[in-house]
């Protein structure tokens, strides 16, 4: 079995660019990724591409060949759709294809165009990640679903909105130096608590923004990296995926994410590490409560205690295990289909010493990326390790 290396990665800036097509966004990300990787496009064996709402935002299906063309790659291409975990599932399949010897070089990526839909339109589009008959038709929105989980968490384990506000403040702080981030601005606890409510208890600053953007990474086999003398110190050493019932109300727990726990356990075992080895993580904080649930599912915090992690400084940049040093979905932005690969890109840079926040993890060897779809009916977890 071949080890999988991150040869290079590239991101567009995440933010508000309603006029830009996803093919243009993705092209930009791939140009950056190929420059970073120093791998010729002709060597690419496959493109695995994540996208969620292209039918709604661009009236476009069949993205695979369109995006291969945009990237200048003549290789078979497949689109992956698992709501917000779309490109996380693409990364997982890329890893497995390289490991089993099917492919040596895989271009993996994703893009999403969202802001052209406006707030109401994007809210409607995001809602289709839930069960249309039994959730959406009752008026449940995507923020509403996470608000249901947040309220259930407060009822079961305690905690309050101010705890969640610390998650938002931390992630904004982390994004200050990230030039790709949608928000490079600090916020205070009061900003979060006094923001307009979206779905109580969650307000505007508990929610990730609506974003346009793209991400791409060139993954290669260890053999390919050696043969071509690539500078690729970061490997993807573990992969895991979990699933759960589609509707939140059909889950055993309303305030836990078993699919992410399953994905994490599988990825840790695959890499031969455990939670105590994790030095840094990028987790799927589409809402502040989602970061709390992710930390607990990944065993980085005991169940019921993740709520205080940011407030008590355990997950801040100078804390024991910094979480979302990129700014996370909250501040970096969440162009849905790009998010899973963007986490891999940020984490690889953090571990390799190429990130503005690398100084906070200069001794780190092991990082984790957690990508979640819907109310975590889909989850992927990847373990990244760096040669030191």
């Amino acid at each position: 079995m071949s080890d999988v290396r991150v040869a290079g990665a590239g991101l567009t800036a995440f933010g508000h660019s309603p006029e830009r097509t996803s093919r243009d966004l993705f092209a930009e990300a791939t140009i950056a990724a190929f420059e970073d990787a120093d791998v010729p496009r002709a060597d690419v064996d496959a493109l695995l591409y994540g996208n969620f709402m292209g039918e709604l935002s661009e009236h476009q299906g069949h993205h695979g060949p369109l995006m291969a063309e945009a990237a200048g790659v003549q290789a078979p291409a497949t689109r992956y759709e698992s709501a917000c975990a779309s490109s996380g599932t693409a990364v997982r399949d890329a890893v497995m294809r390289i490991r089993n010897g099917e492919d040596d070089v895989v271009l993996v990526g994703g893009a999403e165009r969202m802001t052209n839909l406006g707030t109401a339109g994007a809210t409607e589009a995001l809602a289709i990640a839930a069960d249309d008959l039994w959730e959406v038709r009752a008026g449940m929105t995507f923020p509403g679903a996470y608000a249901l989980m947040a309220q259930a968490y407060f009822d079961e384990y305690g905690g309050e909105h101010e705890d969640l506000a610390h998650v938002a403040m931390k992630n904004h702080e982390n994004a200050l130096t990230n030039e790709k981030a949608q928000y490079q601005s600090a916020i205070e606890i009061e900003d979060v608590l006094e923001a307009p409510p979206v779905s109580e208890p969650l307000g505007l600053y508990d929610s990730c923004p609506i974003s346009d953007g793209a991400a791409a990474a060139v993954l290669v086999s260890e053999d390919y990296a050696e043969e071509h003398g690539l500078d690729a110190p970061v490997s993807i050493s573990g992969t895991g995926q979990g699933g759960d019932r589609m509707a939140l109300h059909d889950r055993e727990y309303l305030a836990r994410s078993p699919a992410a726990r399953e994905a994490g356990a599988e990825a840790y075992a695959d890499a031969g590490v455990d939670a105590a080895d994790v030095d840094v993580a990028e987790v799927h904080d589409c809402f502040t409560i989602a970061e709390v649930l992710a930390l607990e599912a990944l065993d980085l915090e005991p169940v019921g205690e993740g709520i205080s992690a940011a407030r008590d400084g355990r997950t801040t940049a100078d804390g024991e295990t910094p979480i979302n040093l990129s700014g996370g979905l909250k501040a970096k932005g969440h162009p849905v289909g790009a998010t899973g690969v963007s986490q891999i890109a940020e984490l690889a840079d953090l571990l390799a010493g190429d990130h503005p926040n690398s100084e906070f993890v200069s001794d780190a060897t092991t990082g984790v990326a957690h990508n979640a779809g819907g109310t975590v009916a889909s989850a992927t977890v990847h373990v990244l390790e760096v040669d030191r």
């Binding site: 409607e124 959406v136 008026g139 923020p143 309220q151 009822d155 509707a247 109300h249």
Partner: protein, 130 residues
């Protein structure tokens, strides 16, 4: 919401019809796993002999939220409360109706009530006072 107005969603619309007649049900397999229609296979164990079982008259709210930023289909309804409530062996997601929003809380006892969206006129699974 993409369906033409005159086309029903088999299984789901019949369930709403039944709930309007106070005859809501879930589907139970021989092992006692309960689920919601349309359903041919038990999602827990794969059994295919599913039987309709009446739901209790009242349920209990397990979590809730008040939504201020809705999808376009609920534009005129906002702000409104959405809750997950347990009705015997299943939970349902519904809009809390006929309660003051401030009084909605976990543990509240509710009855199924099929309401109508103020925005679209479509039927909405709702939870009303007992």
């Amino acid at each position: 919401m993409s369906d033409a107005d005159d086309v029903q969603d088999a299984g789901f619309d019949e369930w709403l019809d039944a709930a309007e007649e106070d005859a809501a049900y879930c589907l139970e397999c021989p092992e006692g796993h309960a689920s919601l229609p349309p359903r041919r296979v038990c999602p827990d164990c794969g059994a295919t002999d599913l039987e309709e079982t009446a739901l209790p008259d009242s349920g209990e709210i397990e979590t809730f939220t008040v939504t201020h930023v809705p999808t376009p289909a609920f534009e005129e309804d906002a702000p409104y409360a959405t809750a997950v409530a347990a009705f015997g062996p299943v939970r349902l997601t519904g809009q809390v109706v006929e309660f003051d929003l401030e009084t909605v809380e976990t543990g509240l006892e509710v009855e199924l009530e099929i309401a109508v969206s103020e925005t679209t006129g479509e039927r909405v699974l709702g939870f009303g006072p007992v």
